[in-house]
């Protein structure tokens, strides 16, 4: 991701508004259905789904990359659609079916996409990988993996700093063939 060097009168905190002490944190019990299991978690309304998964449910497979909806490392499925958990409030997805990277394998049997990422060495540092895999599974389900060009276009919301992109495309193609067989 490119970060523009900015000119202008930058001074720490110059444009920040004072904290409003009248506003108190608001706590809620939120009921989350994650990988087929119901959990009730006590959350601040500000808590994102990503933070709830990682901090409350200790499901740390979903990663916090940019935390601003730009990198895709936090991708999970909400009712089967890929969403960014960093821009999703935990209180807003109660009753929805949430699937994370931890919910893909059947016991010790990896999902075909997980297997394909290993087979094709589709990662280096691995930080973006769980988001890539969740996005790739949905990409095939949506019917957006017909050509290499489609895969690149519809996987563009998942950034890989190590630039393993060619291997990711190869992995998606392999998994697609297997997923369509079964």
């Amino acid at each position: 991701m490119t970060v523009a060097v900015q000119e202008g009168s930058k001074s720490p905190g110059a444009g920040k508004r004072p904290l409003d002490h009248r506003a108190e944190p608001q706590w809620r019990d939120a009921s989350l259905a994650v990988n087929g299991v119901f959990h009730t978690v006590h959350v601040d309304t500000r808590m994102t789904l990503l933070d709830a998964l990682r901090e409350k449910l200790k499901l740390t497979g979903s990663k916090k990359g940019c935390d601003q909806g730009q990198c895709g490392a936090c991708t999970v499925h909400v009712d089967g659609e890929r969403h960014l958990s960093c821009l999703t409030l935990a209180v807003a997805v109660q009753g929805r079916n949430i699937t994370t990277i931890e919910g893909l394998a059947q016991g010790d049997n990896l999902h075909p996409m997980q297997r394909a990422f290993i087979d094709h060495d589709a990662f280096q540092c691995g930080y973006c990988t769980s988001g890539q895999i969740m996005s790739a599974v949905a990409c095939i389900g949506e019917g957006h993996a017909g050509t290499d060009g489609d895969i690149r276009e519809y996987m563009s919301g998942n950034l890989c700093r190590c630039a393993a992109y060619p291997n990711i495309v190869a992995a998606v193609k392999q998994a697609k063939a297997e997923m369509e067989k079964s």
């Binding site: 900015q6 110059a14 444009g15 920040k16 409003d20 500000r46 909806g69 821009l87 919301g157």
Partner: protein, 338 residues
């Protein structure tokens, strides 16, 4: 992020009642509607927006807000339809390429799944100085504080519709298509529903860049009406620094009606170059009733960008914007339309 109360009302009327609170502008109101949240939650994390209450509208029972309907020449699109849903609708792909191409060239699939069309048109600028609160000057964020972008790094900023107070870009892709098609917006407020031209939704920055729309705090967009369909000879061309998942440097939404080579009707919306969704009426005027050729298209583009006011880093947008208009017009002309 600042603490906030979270409400999830059951219908639009209840949502409007919760959000109808006094404020100088809808974007600074203490109560904000939350749809997909892809702009709002981001800006709340950055402390650019600090509402004290969020009203989640994604669970509203008003089914019409989730529907895509055709009635005669009109297309009605509910505001809670997601970007992904509209862009996947095969009858819209066939009849309104301008609407679907502008959607799939915007954002990523994750964001398109989350973002609703009502929020899409209200997305706020990506001006770096607006988004980074460590810059003291931003007339949009802090009225009267000045503008760091005027003489700062402004390669991504607007050249049309600017003022001495703000040159922030309207970065959305779908709105240029809506403005080109003379869409209307249906809005629900405390005193009932009203409808306005999409062209009247966004306000030029002028001396009050923090007032971005003509919506009153509490007013909720419920639907978009696109008249005069289908628009099969239409498209969206977007030029950007990388081929996917990037904001426009320049874009053009074009709908054409031809009589041989003669332009019976032409509509052009511009993105990536202006402070608001931009209707290129001067360009349309040059072309209407004339033959569409590279030379007449160039004359039209020249006429539209005559009033452009580039700054230090964004002069390229004048030439690029013109070239984008010409290319979009000629490619729309070349479309095979049944």
């Amino acid at each position: 992020m600042r603490p906030f109360a979270y409400e999830s009302p059951s219908d639009a009327a209840a949502a409007v009642a919760l959000a109808s609170v006094p404020a100088s502008a809808h974007v600074t109101a203490p109560v904000q509607f939350k749809g997909g949240g892809t702009t709002l939650i981001d800006l709340m994390k950055l402390d650019v927006m600090g509402p004290t209450t969020l009203v989640d509208i994604t669970g509203l029972k008003d089914e019409a807000m989730r529907r895509i309907e055709r009635s005669g020449d009109d297309l009605r699109i509910g505001s809670l339809v997601s970007m992904a849903t509209l862009h996947e609708d095969q009858s819209i792909v066939r009849d309104y390429p301008i609407l679907t191409e502008s959607l799939w060239q915007g954002a990523s699939q994750q964001l398109r799944n989350m973002a609703r069309l009502g929020g899409n048109v209200l997305q706020r600028t990506r001006c770096s100085y607006f988004r980074d609160v460590s810059f003291a000057q931003c007339n949009k964020r802090d009225p009267g504080s000045g503008c760091s972008a005027l003489d700062g790094v402004n390669r991504a900023h607007a050249v049309l519709g600017t003022s001495g107070h703000c040159i922030a870009l309207y970065a959305g892709d779908w709105a240029p298509a809506l403005i080109a098609l003379d869409a209307r917006v249906e809005v629900l407020g405390r005193s009932g529903p009203r409808s306005l031209a999409f062209a009247d939704l966004h306000r030029l920055p002028g001396t009050t860049p923090h007032i971005e729309t003509s919506l009153v705090p509490g007013e909720l967009i419920t639907a978009f009406i696109v008249p005069g369909g289908p628009r099969r000879r239409s498209l969206y061309r977007k030029i950007r620094d990388r081929v996917s998942y990037q904001f426009a440097n320049a874009s053009a939404a074009v709908a054409l009606e031809l009589d041989g080579d003669l332009v019976r009707d032409v509509r052009i919306g511009l993105g990536g170059v202006a402070t608001v969704p931009w209707r290129a009426r001067k360009a349309e005027q040059v072309l209407r009733g004339k033959r569409l050729t590279e030379s007449s298209a160039t004359a039209a583009a020249d006429a539209e960008f005559e009033s452009a006011q580039p700054r230090k880093d964004n002069r390229y947008k004048v030439a690029l914007g013109k070239a984008t208009v010409v290319r979009a017009l000629l490619e729309a002309q070349a479309m095979e339309v049944v």
